[in-house]
Symmetry: C2
Subunit: 317 residues, 2 copies
Amino acid sequence: MAVTAGVDVGGTKIQAVVLSARRVVGQARVPTPATGVPDVVAAIVDTVRSSLDEASLKSSDLSGMGVGIPGEVDTETGHVSRAANVAGFMDDVPLGNLLGRRFRGVPVLVDNDVRVAIVGEYRRGAGRPYRNLLGVFVGTGVGGGLIFEGKLRRGRGAAGEIGHAVVKPGGRLCRCGRKGCLEAYAGRASIEAAARRRQKQGHRTILFEIMKHKGRDRVTSSVVADALDKGDPVTTRLVDQAVEALGVALASAQNLLDLEAIIVGGGLGDRLGPPFVRRVEKAMAPHVFASENPPAVLGTELGDLSGAVGAAVMAGG
Amino acid sequence: MAVTAGVDVGGTKIQAVVLSARRVVGQARVPTPATGVPDVVAAIVDTVRSSLDEASLKSSDLSGMGVGIPGEVDTETGHVSRAANVAGFMDDVPLGNLLGRRFRGVPVLVDNDVRVAIVGEYRRGAGRPYRNLLGVFVGTGVGGGLIFEGKLRRGRGAAGEIGHAVVKPGGRLCRCGRKGCLEAYAGRASIEAAARRRQKQGHRTILFEIMKHKGRDRVTSSVVADALDKGDPVTTRLVDQAVEALGVALASAQNLLDLEAIIVGGGLGDRLGPPFVRRVEKAMAPHVFASENPPAVLGTELGDLSGAVGAAVMAGG
């Protein structure tokens, strides 16, 4: 009976789970320290230990550990770099080794956060019935992960960037510096930036009042959801554009790949939930070539545990 | 030493080759009869026999035969349907059986024309050095074929439709009835239709004079090439738009799949040749996310033999 740990290291939180006999038997979550690599590593270790405690297990029970983290990951060596949202991880960090030292003898596998999330949904979530699927994770940015014939597709290391599909040539500026990318319309950070621009232009919006009222310093997914619920016109328009952009990018991907399923998750995707997923499905429909055989379009089943569960699964759990 | 025949059945011509020890030892080409299924089948048989004659081989030497044809193909049964450009093949035609009867004992394999073409380029053409590639065939329409990890990807039967990637939401009407598809900008038939509209609107173009001068009743790839060489402004503009559209669609595909190579072929792609392929590569560049590691962008090596060679290869040659 394999016991494995999985950790999802995000810009705001670190989520760990422990799997035993394929089930989540322990979990824990802490805010991501903003104080650099040693503190982030210590927080990962603590979160895993808390998850083990919950299941009355010890680190010596672990047969493997997986970690998902944004940025570039060398899966061979466990090195991470260019993770802009995790303090200290823009530089090259030997995360696999650092954790291996703390969990003596436990093999540690490190991979990209979006990849571990699609593996989580594929193996233990909404993707279980399928062998060919795309996961699109709509959060601060927009990431993607591909499963073909039951296997994660990495390409040469950069596969899955559905967030940088061009949905409007010459369109809105993306955080990547290019124009018209899906992420420039559907990513939470881009929606926030676009709302600020519109407010400056004189459009009235309650989005930033909701943000302050919730004690946040940025427009989180729940801020967007509340503004949408209250009928804020700027937010409504921006989410409409996000849905249209997702429809275009996902339909183009579908026409090329003829997938069985597309899973829509991520912070914003999960928070806006099934009504949002249904809208994305509807926005895809007019652009799907094999319209008699569209893919299943689904929300996640594991929600914000997709990544941690996927990481634990990749570690053999 | 396997001897196989491969046939590419197109809207205008039927091209056959015979492979022996992996080399083309015979080939023949005839115009596609416009008079229905029996004549098309007879023409296929004759073309294969001519190819065998050239190599001093007999049909009893064949260990297999492959056929590529547009439309929907059931590869299990060898049935073809919805091939709009081949007379009689809109209806369901048991092409595999019809040919099997004429070549007694020779297994006949039927597949989609674009798929056999990408297999040809992958196994015997420009794609040989790679294991993950996309072929985009720019002809009357725009078709695509995908090779992942050395295997043709069919999806659920409809994979490869890069021609119906959305390059401009709400844009030019496509022959498929949708708007803004790649094919609406880059397909030869769409370029012809757009040129006619511009001429009606008062734009001056020599495209249709060139067509008549060449004794054609439609704007063939060589008509487009000649108009482009002569600097015809309408043709120049339309080809510019085709290049831009290909850049957007192929970059989006690249961002999702991180392919090693993209091969640009088809009647128009082959006719416009390397300068066109270089322009497509340049048009992709600003949209490629992993810009430090772009794919190789190549023309075909087999030209209009890609399909026939690929069909013969699929039959074991």
